[in-house]
Amino acid sequence: MKKRSTAMLTIFSFGFAFLYVPIFLLIVYSFNDSRLISVWGGFSTRWYTALFEDEQIIDAALLSLQVAAISATFATILGTLAGLALTRMANFRGRLFFTGILAAPLVMPEVITGLSLLLLFVSLQELIGWPGTRGAMTITIAHITFSMAYVAVIVQSRMLTLNRSLEEAAMDLGGRPFRVFVDITLPIISPAMLSGWLLAFTLSLDDLVIASFASGAGSNTLPMVIFSKVKLGVTPDINALATLIILVVSIGIAIAGWIMFRQNKSLSQQNT
């Protein structure tokens, strides 16, 4: 038994290092003064300075943040409704089909989702003259579509583990379904909705393929600019950008984790 757990620990540590070493190296090399990876030219923050002077990157970052914030919000609303429909609405017609098309975007290869959405936008343009130009709006719609499935999964699993007695009691006392949802269910599932929002935000901020298809000429999101820069090799200012993104994401997750931890703690205190 002892020997086996040592072997397990070795594999676990290896896998763990495999996941983290590349990220760690990226951070270290963002402070390398030399342009070459093979040479350590001393500590420097010059790539960060270069980054903030690069207007193309700043514009792209602003566009990406805007798209991510709007699409995450709509994805959270739609995903929560979908999660609610699947857990709280008794059998409705086409439920199985609904489950199917809700989960499909989770595994659908991005090239297919991207291509099909672009062709939809082009066809709609032909038919009804909307959406006019492709850009922030079409990218946002595309991102809502693929990230609402993630929110739905998170909300759904929270709803399934939720003790229904509170909701049932409120219903028995004559609460209308909508009020029960707002007063009882919503506060309990809000941590799940927050993590859903954060996940949708991150997925949108990170998406290259779907955005490339959905955007028109001229609107470049951050991943599109990064991709065009790194296609030909390592560029130090992207290392700096990566470090900043990792920093922001880590802080965001830490805050979300703390909120959820507090929420869980107060919930368990209420229950006892």
Partner: protein, 307 residues
């Protein structure tokens, strides 16, 4: 009378709320997920033209159905004739399959280790597995470029130690593609495996061991069957997206690392042949329907078992 009015209004309100909850996400998915596939399928039968948009109209009344039908299979016939596409599809299946096996071999012991550690430790370990997933996928793939390139970290260290005399070509090879896929999709394998292994009753293990079961036999008879839904879910969660992967072969792969996602992307953005790209996508979707249905079934089954 007044009371029945309010009752009526309330019933209407309840119904309206129910409608909104179901219909709103449903309609969104039908309009922005389902209808687009129908359009892809339709356009895969049209011919490319130099115009905006670059394909022949969807409905052309001037042609008879038979003419339209004969002309429209061109894209699929072209896919059959040109080796490039066959090779891409087959290579994608092979790469996705081997990467899935590698993820399973590395992910299974990791999930098992987490499931067996103390409950307080579990959540932290699990969090650490999920954390990389939250940081940019694109940037994590990019990180490997600096590690694998000929003047990258691995080659520098090896040259310095003296293991090798000249740099090994690792970046822009198939090896780099496998590495990239296993690296980015490993959490997708570990999470469903963990969810199943966590439920494993360790008493069963001890009982089997007490009765003289060899470790391998205990694993084969008890652990594996319990974790099988997780193995299936994890494998499909790696295999399906890996099949259509674009970023990893584009950044880490060489010119010969053809995968269908990249071929589709190039067909669309470089050659601007939208109908052919649609045909490529339609066939890819056809290949993936079976694993996707398998995935749905598996999820539905394990959801039933837990509830």
């Amino acid at each position: 009378m007044a009371e029945s009015m309010t009752n009526h209004q309330q019933a209407f309100g309840d119904l309206l709320w129910r409608r909104i909850v179901i219909v709103l996400p449903y309609l969104w998915l039908i309009l922005f997920f389902l209808v687009p596939f129908a359009i892809v399928f339709k356009i895969s039968f049209s011919d490319p033209i130099v115009a905006q948009p670059p394909f022949t109209p969807l409905f052309d009344q001037s042609q008879s159905f038979l003419n339209w039908f004969q002309g429209s299979l061109n894209n699929y016939l072209f896919l059959l004739e040109d080796n490039l596409y066959w090779v891409s599809y087959l290579r994608s299946i092979k790469v996705a399959f081997i990467s899935t096996i590698c993820c399973l071999l590395l992910g299974y012991p990791m999930a098992y280790y987490i499931a067996q550690s103390a409950p307080t430790k579990r959540n932290v370990l699990l969090m650490l597995i999920i954390l990389p997933f939250w940081t940019s996928f694109l940037l994590r793939v990019y990180a490997w470029m600096g590690i694998l390139s000929t003047n990258g970290i691995i080659n520098s260290v090896f040259l310095w130690i003296g293991v090798i005399d000249e740099p090994i070509q690792m970046l822009y090879t198939n090896f780099a593609v496998y590495l990239g896929i296993v690296y980015t999709y490993l959490p997708f394998m570990i999470l469903p495996l963990y969810a199943n292994l966590e439920r494993l009753d360790l008493n069963l293990h001890d009982a089997a061991a007490d009765l003289g079961g060899k470790p391998l036999q205990v694993f084969w008879d008890i652990t594996l069957p319990v974790s099988l839904p997780g193995v299936i879910a994890g494998s499909l969660l790696v295999f399906i997206p890996a099949m259509g992967e674009f970023v990893i072969p584009a950044l880490l792969g060489g010119l010969d690392s053809l995968m269908i996602g990249r071929t589709l992307y190039d067909e669309f953005f470089v050659n601007r042949d939208w109908p052919l790209a649609s045909a490529v996508a339609s066939i890819l979707l056809l290949i993936l329907v079976l694993p996707m249905v398998l995935f749905q079934r598996n999820q539905a089954k394990s959801a039933e078992e837990t509830s």
